[in-house]
């Protein structure tokens, strides 16, 4: 986090502590997508939205006790995670997750019995990420594949890549072990790799 974003965050927290609606609006816009990613790890779409809404109302009071030991984002994500866990506990449900295999079947099938590449990657992705993202069709395709990821993988990926959380924080928020987080991330990245590869080879999503 840069000095200026730290200052902005401190100002925002001050405004929220003072109960300023404008500060809350700013925070809601900035932090809701990440909070939703956390909630979707645990819950279906509409329950996740409900929990996030309820959390913001709780935050109005809770922010007064916020001491800044973690960043605002991490603090908000923990509140959401706890809200989700409470809801799961009361419904007596658990998050179904599969941590058993670290290789995607589609990729695993590309090796021979000796473990060498049978169907190696043909093309090298030459363009930079920013250049690639200027391709609207690829960006849409990425959205489509992100939506199709299992919730647990998508949440882990979004928190790690897009929200740049540290692994320790994600393990804490999503209640997974470090090794299970590694599996979730790797499985999700392989799917995105396979998608980009298909797109580059065929131009199709």
């Amino acid at each position: 986090m840069t000095d200026s974003s730290r200052n902005n965050e401190a100002q925002l927290i001050q405004g929220m502590k003072a109960g300023e609606n404008q500060s809350f609006q700013e925070a809601v816009r900035a932090y809701t997508p990440g909070m939703l990613a956390v909630a979707r790890f645990y819950l279906d779409h509409s329950s996740a939205e409900e929990v996030v809404q309820d959390c913001w109302v709780k935050v109005i009071e809770a922010i007064r006790n916020f001491e800044g030991r973690s960043g605002l984002k991490t603090w908000l994500h923990r509140i959401v995670a706890n809200g989700c866990k409470n809801r799961l506990r009361s419904a007596n449900r658990e998050v179904p997750t599969d941590f058993s295999e670290s290789l995607e079947p589609e990729l695993a099938n590309r090796f021979n019995a000796k473990g060498r590449w049978d169907l190696p990657p043909k093309l090298q992705f030459h363009d930079s990420a920013d250049t690639l993202m200027e391709n609207g069709a690829l960006s849409d395709c990425l959205d489509k594949h992100l939506s199709a990821l299992p919730e647990t993988q998508r949440s882990a990926l979004i928190l790690y890549e897009a929200h740049q959380h540290k692994s320790d924080d994600i393990c804490n928020i999503l209640d997974v072990s470090a090794s299970n987080l590694r599996v979730l991330l790797h499985r999700a990245r392989q799917k995105i790799f396979l998608m980009v590869e298909t797109f580059q080879e065929t131009g199709e999503c």
Binding site: V28, P33, V57, P120, V196
Partner: protein, 87 residues
């Protein structure tokens, strides 16, 4: 000896610098000898960069509007009393 399939299974750990030293060294040795795995690691890394560049989580305007309304209402009605607030 590390095979291509083994390397593919731990590729994210390698990219993120999460491998133990010895395993990291065997990945590096393998990469020196295997151009397919070099391409794979390069492409997996590029896919990861792509995710960071992608403005994920497009704003859900309808949800944001609903939250804004609830927060504004709660701020008006809530138990907050500015005169009693800590400095």
């Amino acid at each position: 000896m590390l095979m291509c399939k083994d390397l593919a299974a731990i590729a994210s750990d390698y990219i993120d610098g999460e491998l133990p030293v010895l395993q990291n060294m065997s990945v590096k040795m393998h990469l020196m000898m295997c151009r397919h795995c070099r391409t794979f690691i390069g492409n997996l890394r590029a896919s990861t960069d792509l995710l960071q560049a992608h403005s994920s989580g497009q704003q859900n305007e309808e949800l944001i509007r609903r939250i804004d309304e609830r927060v504004a209402k709660a701020l008006k009605e809530g138990p907050r009393n500015p005169t009693n607030r800590d400095p």
